[in-house]
Amino acid sequence: MTAVNEMIVPAFDDDVETGRKLAIICSKGSLDMAYPGLILGNAALGEGVELHLFFTFWGFDMITKGRMENLKFSPVGNTAAHIPAALAPFPGMTSMATHMMQKSMDALEIPAVPEFLDLIVASGGHLWACQLSADMNKLKKEDLYDGVEAIINASDFIEMTNGAQLLFI
């Protein structure tokens, strides 16, 4: 055992204005693919990293009122779901797989998507919606989760993420 008389103090980077920024592009709308962005985003916020989540394409379902509470998981085409391929498209399989996934998440106290977004916003994360996706789905800001700051286009996103680390999900 080494005895250190001076206190060992962890580095909390308070003085360091690293300006570390992380932007996660959430492009998927299935339940399984909604979580990676949320979990990593939340972890980034907990480490003092500025966080931006950009929802585009299928990811729009994660922030659309009425859809965000009902994301589904289908094992079709996903060999990692460990279900015989011929059974995956069976009626009822999607419901069952979704239900099982949600139960696993609940058991680990991982919040559902809407609650998770509440947590991320409360922790200082920024949520953005893709202009093109909004146009394609004919949706306006009122149709989206309240925590979404604005609908922005690709150029805005590129400008905003100058110097940021990017993650595409």
Partner: protein
């Protein structure tokens, strides 16, 4: 595993400086730890720290920010105000507990 002197007492810590022995902590030590990282403790700060201590005793692990918010009753936004940038880690450090392992 190193030991270090906090508030005049020798305590066991891990390589990062987080205390490893639950019973070696007391309020005075918490105050010294807070001072070491520049956190000015108010009643609100202590409420969070005491929640962490109590919860660790019951659950056997350090609560995550979310648990401090839902079970501890302190608003998440407020936690980032009280313990800026890295609230979960700072709270754990001041409370003499390991960093939380949970993902959320």
């Amino acid at each position: 595993m190193p030991t270090t002197t906090i508030n005049g007492r020798e305590v066991a810590v891990d390589d990062e400086g987080f205390m490893t022995e639950y019973d070696q902590w007391d309020d005075a030590m918490g105050a010294a730890l807070a001072e070491a990282i520049g956190v000015e403790m108010t009643d609100e700060h202590w409420k969070a720290i005491h929640f962490l201590r109590d919860d660790f005793k019951v659950q056997g692990e350090t609560p995550t920010i979310r648990r401090v918010s839902t079970a501890g009753g302190i608003d998440t936004k407020q936690l980032f105000v009280l313990f800026p940038k890295k609230p979960a880690k700072k709270m754990a450090y001041i409370a003499g507990l390991p960093k939380p392992h949970g993902c959320v």
